[in-house]
Symmetry: C2
Subunit: 114 residues, 2 copies
Amino acid sequence: MKFDKGLMAGSSTLLLLTLLESGDMYGYQMIEELSRRSNDAFQMQEGTLYPILHALEKEKYLSSYRQLAPSGRERKYYKLTRRGRELLADKRTEWEKFHRGVNDVLRGGADALA
Amino acid sequence: MKFDKGLMAGSSTLLLLTLLESGDMYGYQMIEELSRRSNDAFQMQEGTLYPILHALEKEKYLSSYRQLAPSGRERKYYKLTRRGRELLADKRTEWEKFHRGVNDVLRGGADALA
DNA sequence: AAAATATACCTTGAATCGCTAGGTATAGTA
DNA sequence: TACTATACCTAGCGATTCAAGGTATATTTT
């Protein structure tokens, strides 16, 4: 299909990077934020989230640091790197194209009446 | 993530069923039509297409028949069944939800300014 | 006429990705 | 004390895409 490999992954990554654009977050928080911002449309599973975060950090799209919460619990925060912001921009463009492509087809093709 | 399993597959199936809504088509033709209607955004591979068509037919979402082209070549046409139209409706709804969810997140969440 | 390309169908195998299902540990609540 | 919520993690399954191959016929080029 082109669009890199895997669209779901493309979307998951896009979504997570987007969250981090508005500030550093820890994994568990991202799941909640994603649900909230999507009006409960997305409930990402931990088994989906953590491997993606680890892969993104390994590729230097994210960096992480540990921080103690007021509660006393330790949390692992993730932060967008420069590279990460570039990836986010690419993923956004990719999503726009994909999204437009699907909608064009659903509307009956490029030459369909508006 | 919910949304059935796999979004790409969800999209591929949605796209193919949508094509067949406007008339019976054979596989090779679907690839061309998909490309045309999406303004060349989508170039589905044969290795992606045929297994999907076979699976959809097996599940009675599609039926097929062979027909000779004027050229003399034989083509295998696929036709939407009643079940297939229902599946299409479901997939469309699913896409709308997903698409809205992603855009909500990209715009900064449900409570972002319009 | 021969060779190359386009049409048209198909399958196998590698790679990728999400999810289920498990695990660990700590803080708060019943 | 036990249960739930928070917070992190991983292994393995299933599903899917694509590259790469195969077969065969029609058309175009050389």
